[in-house]
Symmetry: C2
Subunit: 285 residues, 2 copies
């Protein structure tokens, strides 16, 4: 099952994808459901079965092109990202990390949905604005002190994430800080795919293309701290909540390429077996 | 004017302090106002004048002891903190920073209100859990690319903040990450004081006491990146919004003391001219 978060005439909604261009609007198929995906995860026990019962075998009743896609979870309580979680990316940055996952937070306003414009910061402020293709996990139920062996039970679904980064600001200090959370600098979508459909994430690849040219292509199996370890680590500090987003790290660029994005570019993050997140880049006003 | 955010029987409310023990409940005095301080800042033009008109000269109608105080802003879109913003704290950590403010984010679940329990993480996970007494500013109106000369116009009010820190996790990597946002590890209150009443923050001191013993006492004028500079810097990256919280850094400990907190302790953060934030410490389950 692939679920989208969308907006139509200022109204939030959730849809179930049918094929790649249409969806079933839950406001029609399951009018008792909350209108945001986070609220469904928080408050509807057995949400996946209930949504399946309301939509299985039905045709799409709306077209993807008629609505504005939002980030899969527009307002999570936390968007946790991991630095330097592939050796190829560590190598290209020259930075080092310990055996613990190196975590930082992004703000919701830094993220747009599939198809929406990414904003390259003003030239005089930032010489370098980079994509980072990543796999994101969405948490589905509350959990504290989660053992690694149970971590995948806490995942409601998976998505593509462009963890767009303003390198100048990121390097101002030891903390990445503002450089990882410029307004509309990243994206999250197009949909959340449930674990039964996505299967084993370590069998898939992250592929990033800029204007059609391949820039990243890495097996997710090359990840350093595995996803189970990241979830277990974070749950030592606080109770993970439905809708929390865990962005699992970016691989290095392919030889002879870099990650820079400029106005006019189109950046695509594909996770094989999951989908492709695509965004045009514009210049900041 | 001093404004509190509180909860009573599961219902959120905002109050105006009268003296140190009582307040006027805006649900009674100004029933048209939203029931959260953030929503008042977002949606009520001229909120301070309107609240003053509804409460000036009136007696308190409720006692502080009868409600649960919440963090001044319980769910800001961002709680930005500054690392190493006093020379005395830089010296005691041995860490360095650049001329830019070194920023990181905290999650709302990491913060409790005045009088609520701070939670010391499990002994086997964390050897060291520290207070950090700080001055917090609450943003009152949206702003991008704010010049330093106008930065104070964007502040709705001021408060005390205990930027409680789990040092073991903070030092796992270059990013402070999870170590700065353990559940219920910090606090924010007791109230927000408006700028007309607080005056010049640089004339005031931060004083922290643990079980009555003075542990920090520093003029805020010794701050490194001044508050105007922090606001200007953050506004380069995104549009500051009403309710955003900017926590301005902690001074070093007094000679011969440290910042450690243990279960059973009571930690008080006083900002002179503003008030005192007090919290007991308990052990994590």
């Amino acid at each position: 099952m692939r679920l989208i978060s969308f907006e139509d005439n200022g109204q939030a909604g959730v849809g179930v994808m049918v094929g790649d261009d249409g969806f079933i609007d839950l406001a029609t198929a399951a009018p008792d459901m909350p209108v945001t995906l986070k609220e469904i995860l928080v408050s509807v026990d057995g949400w996946q079965d209930k949504i399946a019962a309301a939509t299985d075998g039905k045709a799409a009743d709306r077209a993807l092109g008629d609505v504005t896609l939002l980030p899969v979870i527009p307002s999570p309580q936390a968007s946790w990202c991991v630095a330097l979680n592939y050796q190829t990316h560590k190598d290209e940055t020259g930075l080092d990390r310990s055996e613990y996952p190196e975590m930082f937070l992004r703000m919701p306003v830094s993220i747009v949905g599939h198809g929406q414009e990414l904003v390259r910061p003003r030239e005089e402020m930032a010489k370098r604005y980079d994509f980072e293709g990543e796999l994101a996990a969405v948490i589905g139920k509350p959990g504290r002190y989660i053992p690694e062996s149970e971590a995948f039970d806490y995942i409601a679904g998976w998505s593509c994430y462009n963890e767009g980064s303003v390198r100048d600001y990121q390097s101002h200090n030891r903390q990445f800080g503002l450089g990882k959370t410029f307004e509309k600098s990243g994206s999250f979508g197009p949909w959340m795919m449930t674990p039964d459909e996505f299967g084993d994430p370590y069998q898939q690849n992250i592929i990033t293309r800029l204007n059609g040219q391949e820039k990243q292509n890495s097996s997710i199996n090359l990840i350093l701290t595995r996803i189970e370890g990241i979830i277990a680590y974070l749950s030592e500090g606080y109770t993970l909540q439905p809708g929390d987003v865990i962005v699992t790290g970016t691989p290095g660029s392919l030889p002879g390429t870099n990650k820079a994005m400029e106005p006019g570019d189109v950046c695509e993050i594909e996770i094989t077996g999951l989908g492709t997140l695509s965004n045009p880049v514009i210049a900041a006003e």
